[in-house]
């Protein structure tokens, strides 16, 4: 038996191809939306991977440092270092800000880390060019997405940093490229005010009689110094010793240091379940709407094509064609349209995804799921047309 659907598609291929291209662009948008979500999840995982930590120690009762602000004294890490199972611990600060690169603003996450080599908590694990920071001040390692090159100068607040190394795909959960600078500089940058504000603050303090008492000559200087230094960090990153379970090390820190400690699993659930949950729901809604629109378009097109063939369907029924053959023809056409649409959509998504400003990750598994979803939607959408075709009376082929 010949394929009636195949012959019809070949006969009016232009109609099918153009409709398929239109549907394909819609499918391409749907695949890209799924890719945007996957990209966000991947960015979140990259953030955790790049930190090199097994545990995140943050301010008590906060979801820090990525989902909420967290503040710890910068000497807390010393006491954590001696806790059972801790191999190493290091302070880290995170500050999202605009930096200027070649005359353009780049939104970046500035990460303050203790200078050192790879493997140290907080340090970027792999560089694509240059070296890790070795000096305590004014060096930086930047992600290539920020656009900086080796030896280029980055201005952060009032300080200038030389780029000594480049990383790739070290981004924040929002997809902003990371710029690593020495911890002390980052602490300063977090609370550094402009000169006018500093002068005004010093004058206010020095004119406060409570701080400038004749009997305590060093008090004023001490207070002014404390006002201009930042002794806080956002988190302490902990690497645990081999053979220890993360929870086994985390629990004593929670109990004895009265700090919040997150394991990798908990941090993943915070990032994915809380930080990007709303975005995920937003994308989920888009996917539902796009799937509904696609189904409506396929249903409308197939229904219209079927109505245009009512006389032929009546003739087919009159000459003895089985209902299931006619239903099969309509369903196959719908699936054919879906196949064309999916191929066009996949190609379109693959072509336009690299020009997206944020990372979009197209996974083969999502494409496979998308393919089956498209086929299912097309199958369901064809049911309206199938119903119309099956209601056609073969007597319509005979006049009168």
């Amino acid at each position: 038996m010949i394929s009636l659907a195949g012959r019809d598609i070949l006969h009016s291929w232009g109609k099918f191809v153009f409709t398929g291209v239109g549907l394909g662009l819609l499918i391409g948008v749907t695949l890209s939306m799924a890719g945007v979500y996957r990209g966000m999840v991947d960015d979140a995982w990259s953030l955790l991977d790049n930190s090199g930590a097994d545990l995140w120690v943050v301010q008590k009762d906060t979801l820090g440092p990525y989902a909420e602000s967290s503040s710890l004294y910068d000497d807390v890490y010393r006491s954590i270092r001696v806790m059972p199972g801790v191999a190493s611990a290091a302070n880290v600060t995170y500050l999202t800000m605009q930096v200027v690169q070649g005359g353009r603003d780049v939104r970046a996450m500035v990460v303050g880390v203790v200078p050192g080599g790879p493997g140290e908590p907080g340090q970027p694990g792999y560089l694509v060019a240059g070296r890790h920071m070795t000096r305590g001040h004014y060096e930086a390692v930047a992600d290539t997405a920020a656009g900086f090159k080796l030896d280029e100068i980055i201005e952060i607040r009032r300080n200038r940093y030389r780029v000594v190394g480049l990383t790739r795909h070290t981004v924040s959960s929002a997809g902003d490229p990371m710029i690593f600078i020495p911890l002390k500089d980052a602490q300063e940058a977090q609370f550094l005010k402009d000169n006018d504000v500093i002068l005004q603050q010093r004058r206010r303090t020095s004119e406060n009689p409570a701080f400038d008492r004749p009997g305590v000559p060093g008090l004023l200087d001490s207070i002014i110094t404390s006002q201009s230094t930042n002794t806080y960090v956002n988190a302490v990153l902990v690497v645990i010793k081999p053979g220890y379970a993360p929870e086994e090390v985390a629990e004593p820190i929670r109990r004895w240091k009265r700090l919040q400690v997150y394991t990798r699993t908990q941090m993943e659930s915070i990032l994915i379940g809380k930080l990007i949950a709303t975005s995920a729901k937003q994308i989920g809604m888009f996917l539902i709407i796009l799937a509904t629109v696609s189904a409506a378009i396929v249903a409308f097109i197939i229904y219209t094509l079927t109505l245009g063939k009512i006389r032929e369907i009546a003739v087919l029924k009159l000459i003895g064609t089985k209902n299931r053959t006619i239903a099969g023809m309509i369903m196959q056409q719908s699936l054919g349209l879906g196949l064309i649409g999916f191929i066009v959509g996949k190609i379109a998504a693959t072509l336009w995804v690299p020009i997206f400003p944020k990372y979009v990750l197209l996974l083969p598994g999502d494409a496979a799921r998308g393919f089956f979803a498209v086929m299912l939607i097309c199958l369901l959408a064809s049911l309206v047309a199938v119903r119309a075709a099956l209601k056609v009376d073969p007597a319509e082929a005979i006049g009168g």
Binding site: L10, L318, G320, A397
Partner: protein, 238 residues
Amino acid sequence: MADLQRGILIEGLRKRYGEGDTAVDALKHVDMEVAPGEVVGLIGPSGSGKSTLLKCLGAVTEPSAGRMTVGGEIIYDNGWKIPDLRALRRDKIGFVFQAPYLIPFLDVTDNVALLPMLAGVSNAEARKRALELLSALDVAHRANAMPAQLSGGEQQRVSIARALVNRPPVILADEPTAPLDSERALAVIRLLNQMAQQYSTAIIVVTHDEKIIPTFKRIYQIRDGRTHEQAGEGRELE
């Protein structure tokens, strides 16, 4: 009368639409006999019941009473009907319409071969049968053309080939010459007569066409839902 066991035999056929006061008797009493190899005309004014009779014979409308025999098989007998009407239409009845109604996305060969394919014949065998018929009807040279590329007369010949391809004992032709000029109309009737003879097929031609009515040897006129048999001129077809 020739062997009616393989032709058409209709006895006391009635068809009523609706019930009660609104009921309409489209067919009040129809008797008809068509022998294998015979072509008879069915004429009558609009609304006389021609199309209803054709639909009853074509097994797409169920009569209200009477008896119909097609190709030696009783297909309807006072409320009883043959169970597989679809197979009956496919295997025992060929249809030729006013417009050819060829499937626009199939070429000429496949338009004709589709019926045997639907009956389970292999594609190769079905196409072989189709090509034989297309040769007999002198349209084999258009075997690979699409219907839209054919003239009206060629399309009608292809539709006749489609009606004949399963060798049905009966062909129902509904105004087959309406869109054609005199010459082509007579050519179609000539073709139907040839095919009726060649394949021993009983053919009923429903028509208003004054050009072809004189060619029938027997005519059934239908008036007010009743058939009246009359002799035709049986004019020779050149």
